[in-house]
């Protein structure tokens, strides 16, 4: 499997998109840390950019890569190799390259300028988000019949998680504001990996004090080790379940 992933990685590196992505992250991170006086403000701005850009790049790149390597997949299917191994090697290659790009592009500046709990939380969630959205990309590409549909579904998923979901949550909170919603909000947060990442990092920052009563409950929950385990666990579920569905779909597919 490692052998196959190596070829996948080699192919990805040659396309140079990953290198451009790394450079983009490096430039954004460095300039934010240099522009903002306060490093925690810089981390906040960085967080907002990452939560939009990282899922988008991961899901679109993952989908396009899948369709571009269709020939490779076809070739491998005639070899003595199981389908599971083929698709997981592809996943490993894509996830590894995207995660490395993130850990270099954002990791180095964060280690230099903001080496603390918030910075580490940012790196951890960014890494996990990459895995999650690469999984979703693979699920979308395996399930869709052609390239246009696949990329369409991928973009829709991103749109849903990055923008629409928040609107829905606001709607629910607004309409049921007479009821105690703290626990439900927590559940709703877990149903969107991007929101989960945001809440998790925000509560590591000083700004969380400004968020009112609810944040006291959250701070209790996310502030300690259970919070880290909860976030990591839910995010891993978000990565594993779509990937498992993608592998299952791929095994049954006619090529």
């Amino acid at each position: 499997m490692i052998k196959l992933s190596k070829y996948v990685l080699y192919d990805i590196l040659r396309s140079k998109i990953i290198i451009a992505y790394t450079l983009f992250l490096l430039v954004v991170s460095f300039s934010l840390f240099n522009l903002e006086e306060n490093e925690s403000k810089a981390v906040l701005s960085l967080l907002n950019i990452i939560l939009i850009v990282l899922p988008l790049v991961s899901i679109v790149f993952g989908t396009i890569h899948y369709y571009n390597s269709y020939e490779f997949i076809e070739l491998m299917l005639a070899q003595p190799m199981s389908r599971q191994k083929i698709i997981l090697s592809e996943y490993a290659g894509v996830a590894f390259s995207l995660a490395s790009a993130f850990l270099i592009g954002v990791g180095i500046p964060v280690l230099l300028f903001s080496f603390n709990a918030t910075g580490m939380a940012l790196l951890l969630t960014g890494f996990l988000l990459t895995l999650v959205f690469t999984s979703l990309a693979f699920l979308a590409s395996v399930k869709a019949r052609d390239k246009a549909r696949g990329i369409g579904i991928a973009l829709l998923l991103w749109f849903y998680f990055a923008l629409i979901y928040d609107g829905l949550v606001m709607l629910i909170l607004f309409n049921f504001s007479d009821y105690p919603l703290e626990k439900i909000t927590l559940l709703l947060t877990a149903l969107n990996p991007i929101d989960l990442a945001r809440v998790f990092i925000m509560l590591k920052m000083d700004v969380s004090a400004l968020m009112g009563v609810t944040s006291a409950l959250y701070k209790d929950f996310f502030g300690n080790i259970t919070g880290i385990l909860f976030t990591t666990g839910i995010m891993l579920l978000w990565a594993i379940i779509p990937l498992w569905l993608a592998v299952r779909g791929f095994k049954r597919k006619d090529i």
């Binding site: 491998m76 005639a78 003595p80």
Partner: protein
Amino acid sequence: MITIENISKRFRKLQVLDNISAQFEKGQVVSLIGPNGSGKTTLIKSILGMVRPESGKIIVDGKPVSENPNYREQIGYMPQIGRYPDNMKIGQLFEMMKNIRNMDGKQIDNELIVQFELEKMFHKPMRTLSGGTRQKVSAALAFLFDPKILILDEPTAGLDPLASEILKEKIIREKAKHKLILITSHILSDLDDLTTHVMHLQEGKLMFFKDIGTLQEETGEIKLGKAIAKIMKGEMPDGSWINNIFQLGQTEEKK
């Protein structure tokens, strides 16, 4: 070596394979013939595990193909349209295949690479190749690991007369080594000197599977094209497609 038991496959409304059973043994050269869309390629892809039949079993060397992909070590497959990773160079492609099949340093059969003069083109990326050169690469790859079973889907389509002759001679040499060879082709004159058995599919149904001796006896014809044309005329009025090919074959011979 290959046992096919009652396999059926439908793509939505279209019944591509309808309850097909057959038994192929080593030393046979089986010609799969039938009009376009009669299910030849689907049958081949089912043997390779690329298409999953709805019902029935395919057994290669005593093991069902759905269980373990290792049986594909025994198979050399030349697809109808060879599709390869665009960025890869011919040389890299061969290196990769050897590496993936764990054949580094082991004895390989590069006769076709030499005869097709592919070595001169090792530095060319796959995307720049013409259809014919791609076919040559596909053929060389199919024979590379000296497999016990060769599956060739339209091997001579797109090849120039010289290359096509080289390939035919290679197939004859492999036949002498007591291998099982499955060929589909519309050019019946190409199959004449090779075939030991003929399998005729039409609209997903197996019309007949006979050895060439029986065929010649039944029809009183020596040439494969004529023999089949005779059967088709007797059996069904809409077998006119074969006449065209038969006539084409004749005019070619006159030249």
